[in-house]
Structure formats: C-alpha cells, structure tokens
Symmetry: D2
Subunit: 261 residues, 4 copies
C-alpha cells in the first residue's frame, strides 16, 4: 500500500536567504519529498504557500494520506479557509506531521487548542535526541539516540496538551531539554510533532531525521472516514431508537429537526 | 480557600420557553450558582449572554478561579473576542466546566481542536451514569451509579480528543452509551466536560448532579500563572545560556529579536 | 507481511460443558484461530493450558508477533514462569490481546499493575458495542455499533489503569455500561483488552467480533526489540560520556559495576 | 486538612557509608520527613526496612494518606506480603511517591507492570530539571527550571508506561535527557515518580526538591475507598438488575455464586 504524501513548505527563506537556498536548492519541501520518495511505499509531492490555494485544493487533499507542514516566517499569510479545510481533513483521517517552527502554524494551533509556545535560541548548538518509546513505529530502526551538530534550541515549557505518547526528548548543549517528538489524535487523524529542522542548518539531509519522517508518514496513515461523518451531529428519532422507548416530558425539538449549533 | 466561580448561562430558552422557565425560574445559571453556594468553600456568581461583554470582562475573569459554561441555542452569538479572552484565561490556569449542549460552544471547540459532535434524541428517556474512576475527586461522595429519569440522549462517537481521564459513562434507555464525564488540560487550565443538563428537565436540581458540580469546581481550581507567561515565546540569547556555548553557523535572527509567528 | 499469532485457550469448559463444546467443537481458541486464518496476512496457531509449558515455550513465543489470551476457570493453574516469559516478550514488543474473563488472567493483571475487577451477571442479555474511536485501526470496517444478542454483563468500575485509548463502550440490557475496548502499551508491546466472549454464547462466531480481532492483531503487531534490551539497566561510564565530564563527589559504585536491583 | 505521610527509607547506606551518614545524619527518610513537617498541613513520620513488618503494618498503612518510598541496595529484602499490602492500599486510594533508585522497588515495578529500567552513571554531574507542566500542582511555586550541581545520571529509555502527565524532564551534563517527574493512577491511588536523590549527594536538602515533595504529597492525597471495594468483583443477580430482564440461554454460574478467578 502506497502512502500519498504532500510536503507543504512555506518557501520564504529559500527565496530570501542565500544560506537557506544553498542548503536546500530545491527547497526544504523538495528535500523532504525527495527523501521520502526513496521509500517504495511512499509517494510524496510538494505544495507551497505561493501556489493557488497554497497547493492544497479540496481535490488534492482528498487524495492525500499524510500532510507534512513546515512554516516559519509567514504563518499569518496562510488563508483561514485553507486552514479549516486541512483541519477538517485531519478530523476525517488525514495524517499530519508538523515540523519545527510550525509549532506556531495555524493548522497546528487550531488542532491543539493551546498556545504552542516555547523558548528558543539560534546558536547552531548541538542537539541530541533520545528515544523514549523504543518500540514505537516512529522510532523503528533508530539508535537509542542521535545527534544534530547544529540546531536551533527549543526549550520548555512547550505549550501543548499532554500528548498521547512521547517518542523523543532532546538534550541541548546550552542546557535545555525539550519534548521533541509527540503524538496526538484529533478525530480520526494521527498527528506527530517533530522538533528539528531550522532552515539555516542541513537537518533534513540527516539520515536519522529522514528515517523518522518515513516512519512517521507510515504511522500517520490511517483509515479515512466518509466525508462529513466526523462532523455531523445527527438526530436519532424516537421511532428509530434501538430499544423501544416512549417519548416523555417536554421537548424543544421536532422530529428529525437539525440540532442547534 | 474559597473557589470563585462564574456560572455562565446563555439564558435564551429561559426567556422563550415557559417549560424551561417553570423548571428554572432564576435561570439554569441561577440554579447552578445557588447549589454551588451551599458549599462554604465556593463563592459562585452568574453571567449571561445578554450582559455587556456577556458578563465576562477581563477584570471579572481575572478574579475567577473556575468558569462553568452552559449554552445551546446561541453559540454563534458569543463574541469571538470574549471567546479568545476566556481561552487565554484557561491557558493561564482558570478552570472550565462545560455542560451538556455546550459541547458545541465556541470556547470548548476552540480548546479541544476537534469537531465535538455527537448523536442525539430528545425523548425524556432514562439516563444512568456509571462512575468509571471511583477514587477521583470529581466522583467523591457519589454512589457507584445514579439515574436521571428524564434526559436528552447523546450518543457516540463523541468527537473529542482522547481525554486525560474518563470519570463517567452513561447508559441510555433507548440503547446508546456515552462517555459523559471527561477531563482535559490546556496550558495550566483544568477542563471538565459533563454531559447531563437538557433545559426541559430538572437535571440541575438533582443532588448527585450538584455533587458532581461542586466536586468538579474544586478539582478544576488550579494555580494561576502570571499574565502572558502561558503564551510568551521568549528568545534566550547565547550570552545568557545556562551552559557556556559559542555561537556557530548561519543565523536568521539578531540577539533578543522577537521570534516569527 | 504476515502476522504470526498464537491463540491461547484455557480449554477447560470446552471439556467439562456440553454447551460450550457444542458451540465451539474445536475449542474457543480453535474458532478464533480459524477466523483469523481467513485473513491472508495472518497466520494463527493455537496453544492450550494442558500443553507442555502451556504451549508457550520460549522458542515458540520468540517466533510470535501477537498472543491472544482467553481464560476463565483456571487462571491459578497457569505457571508463574510462563507468565513472566509472556510478560517479558510483551515488553520486547510482542502484542497481546486479552479477551473477556481473562481480565483476571495472571498475564493481564501483571501487566496492568491494578486489580482488574468488575461487576458481572450471566443472564444472556443483549450487549451493544459503540465505537468511540471511529478512525482507529481496531475499528476499521465496523458500523458505528453492533449487537451481541446474548452476552454476560460486565459493569463498571473496571479496575484498570486509564487506557491510552478507548475504542468501544458497551450498553447492556440490564442497565449497565462498560468500557469494552481499551488499548495499553507496556515496554514495546501493544495490549488490547476486548470484553465480549462468554463461553456459553457464540460470540466468536460473530462477524463483527471477528473483524475486531483481525484488526487488533494487525494493530498490535509491533517492532520487536533485541532480547534483553527492554530490561537491561546498563552503566554508562564517565569516560564514555557523550559530553566530556569529570567525575566529582563521592561514589558508591566502581566503573562498569552492575547496578543494584 | 492534614495529610498523614510515612517516609519509608531503606536505611542501608546510611549505616554502611560514612559519606551518606555525613550528609543524612538522621537518615534520608529523616531528612525528608523533617522537611515535610515544616508544612503545617503535613504530618510526616518515618519507617525503615529494619522495623518489624518494615514499619508498614496494616494498621499503620490504614491511617496513612501518602507513602514516600526510597530504596536502592535492598529491594530484594522487602517482604512480598508487605509489598502486596502497600499495593492494595494504593488501589484503595493511598498516594505513593517513588524516589530515584526506587524505580526498581518491588512496589513500583508491581504497580507499573513494566521493567522500569534505565541507563545510569554515578559521576556527580550537573542535573537541570525543566518544568514541562507549569500549571500543575506538583510544580506550584517552582521556577521554570532548577539545578542540582551533583547528581547521578539516569538516561532514557525509561521502561515505564506512558504517564498520565509529564511534569519534569532533566538535562544532564554528560549529554543525556530523562523524564524525571511522571504521574500515574492505579485504582484510586495517585502515584508520582520523582527522579533526583542519589544517596551520596545532598539532594533532599535542596529547597526546590523539598518544594516538589511537599506539593506532591498534597497532590497525591486522595479520597480513600472502602476496604475491599477496589478489588471485589460482585455478581449482580438477574432479579436485582436495574432494568427488568429475563434470564436467557445457558449458564455456568448459579445465582449469587462467586466468580472464577
């Protein structure tokens, strides 16, 4: 079974910064998609902020199993209608992998219902990721830890809800620790937040990082629910009750009426 | 220690429906606040949709430990600015208790990040709540189950995130079952969703329901964090790092610069 | 990828009771294994209490991806050494599916660390299972609810830890509700408790129940960790520290010494 | 309301090692109890391995709200009957705080159902604990991080179940990170694992560590359930069913019979 992936990239610093363009000549999204496509069971395409509808039309999302999201400088430019479209697809079972500075992406904040804040420092310091859930499919094939020689620091408290599972925690050279791999579910959609990936460092060229992303894509690929089923709130009329009941007491609603929202 | 509570009521059906007004002559909010005030450790006031700022000014919320929310017919009339104000207070540690049809309240949907949908039937059927977490403070002093002879049915799937804890599940006469008491945390704020409370039945006059609400108020009362601390994302400059580090590699940001959002 | 399964059956009431033998002429374990083998991606065998080592030799367990456990009358006859062997395999990544009255099986109680008690009634009453996690792989292909016309009742409180996920809750004709599908992880092993399956009713012939079991087998199939890795507690000597440190202060242990247990 | 605490100490290295005795002249348990007794709402006593029944008679445990456990060298000498007695009290609502090397204590392993293993290094290195749940009562009054200049290192993977909540994670000078404050519930009992506390360092004299312990004691103090209620598995006879049902189909059990275990 092939997992169909869209790697969404903001594609701003790739245009503005020679440093970033030098590391990621085909964009960060291009680098990630290319790494994923090394896996015969994954078929990855890209989409960018500058595309019509940010490359995330309803039709395209309907054919997507997992969406990967990287953004940093232009969270505010993402159209709210596209955000709602993505969020609803997640509720219906599309997987979502949120990378690094996308902790402040609208789609992530919307799904978490929390501030998603953290502390940070851009010093090219060493990050060492420790696997806390060694049997988890997202950690398959990884050593017990791996290092990124240059990364931006993110520090606790990380303003996210208590996760379903903590997969990685990070050690930073400057003295901080951080929960750097967290799983969530919203509706039928699996969500994975993965911390590394500052644009001025070659993080997405790292073999262990690429292994995490491939694993996460497969983990996040879920059963898709029928359109609307994750948001409908149907009335079950008395006469269709599974056990025979008599209507009693006063009512607000008529039979089959749509509920109040 | 006194817990300061605001019971927020939509106050629409109390005005429109003689049935509802008959059961709750001082409003559903009034009934709940009055029950809470029987407890010497709770000081409860009310606020309604029709008040200026819906009775939820910044000053008033700042002095509130726990907010209880009941709404049904007018979710859409709640001002988005007030919703954001409430949500931020929850992140900073204000407790929130969400009742019955407020599963579709803006504040709850915003904090859950999920569709919060369910199935329903208004037939005055019997509901029996079973305690699934007998040692939990929210269940203190309750029998192993209790009944509400007339209630609206809510059925699964309930479109909420996996809770921290499941405290109650309900049996319905018409054949459904439902997770009817769920805890969450968002930022520093404790959140409890409690299912019963259709406006055409005398649910909030029930002694067991009142016991649950008193317990939940005390459980939800948390430590309040300093204003802004739950949402700030401060830069930690290299020269203030807790362990000595040298800056390395290319940068996007200048020292002390505010991060991108 | 084929998932290798052992279906373990206590095989006591099949011998003693004509009723049970009539419903399950090849044993409950035989019925379940046969149903699983309809799936081309599952290869299921059986093991019984009366086999040498209860059919669960170290060699056999090493080649097993998922173990299914049904027991009722003879929990106390299961050898403690076999229990520890199974538990350790779960920690290393073998999946475990625990059925019905095996809530009191030694392997389950050992892994839960909790009393695993519940209330019960054997009256052949109707059970209706509601899916609470519609996008979960264990619920794939199921309707929103399904019925078993005759089942034993299990009631709350169910003395198990808060689960990772609640997949099903049950409605019973006699007035109880129960959390009937729960997931856990212990070490690298996925665990699923599934409630239905009293031996005097044809539950494991039911198509929906069989669908749940097939789904659960695939869900529980995890990455197996190297032998011992899930239980070792290795010393990391100072000279092998990942960051250069000097030894300071008093010590209890010599370099490379085994830790205290 | 006063919280009654027993601080249980193994009291072995205090006798054997002059270093440990020098730091903790009244024992580690004595130091902890003394710190707790500074809080007017806590009344703490001590118990040690060498006492009859390890100081944990049934009568004494019945009057205890929260038990704190420190052990290292003599886990194997703790009597299994006392372990079961403690475990059952936890199920009925006694809180349990497990410190440092007690990750391998029988009571903790028994309640977790997991290997509880980790990696370690005794080098007197710096540990820095970061608060990951700033609004949690266990973190009340703490700064966003605090340091212990000399501690033993514990590294991931930590072989415990996914916690209810992660309260602290630790950074170590030698390059590791660790989940150092975790909450669990087993039955009605709240459990908190807190990592620091190697016997050759003055950790329990640290003001922040003492703050954590006082907070944890209050957090863990729960409602105590009636004796036996957390482990009973009562039959609910047909004639006492909450909804009228007729007995149907074949049975194994007679009315009121005790269930099989």
């Amino acid at each position: 079974m092939t997992t169909k992936v869209i790697v969404w990239g903001e594609n701003v610093h790739e245009q503005k910064s020679e440093t970033v363009r030098g590391i990621y000549p085909s964009g960060m999204h291009g680098c990630i998609a290319s790494a994923l496509n090394d896996d015969p069971d994954i078929s990855a395409e890209t989409a960018i902020l500058q595309d019509p509808e940010h490359g995330l039309s309803a039709e395209r999302l309907d054919g997507t199993d997992v969406l990967i999201w990287w953004g940093h400088a232009a969270h505010g430019e993402v159209d709210d209608a596209v955000v709602e479209r993505v969020v609803e697809r997640v509720w219906h079972g599309m997987g979502l992998i949120v990378l690094h500075s996308a902790h402040f992406a609208k789609v992530f904040m919307r799904l978490m219902g929390s501030p998603c804040n953290l502390t940070w420092r851009e010093a090219g310091e060493r990050e060492r990721l420790w696997v806390t859930a060694p049997g988890h499919p997202i950690a398959a094939g990884l050593p017990d830890h791996f290092e990124l020689e240059n990364e931006e620091m993110y520090g606790e408290p990380f303003g996210v809800p208590e996760p379903l599972e903590t997969i990685f925690i990070s050690w930073f050279q400057g003295g901080e620790a951080f929960r750097s791999g967290l799983t969530y579910r919203r509706g039928a959609g699996n969500i994975f937040y993965f911390r590394p990936g500052h644009e001025t460092y070659p993080t997405y060229h790292d073999a262990n990082v690429q292994r995490v992303l491939k694993n996460a894509v497969k983990w996040a690929h879920s059963v898709r629910r029928a359109e609307g089923s994750a948001i409908d709130a149907p009335n079950r009329p008395v006469k269709e009750a599974l056990e025979p009941i008599e209507e009693r007491g006063p009512r607000l609603h008529k039979d089959g009426e749509e509920g109040l929202r």
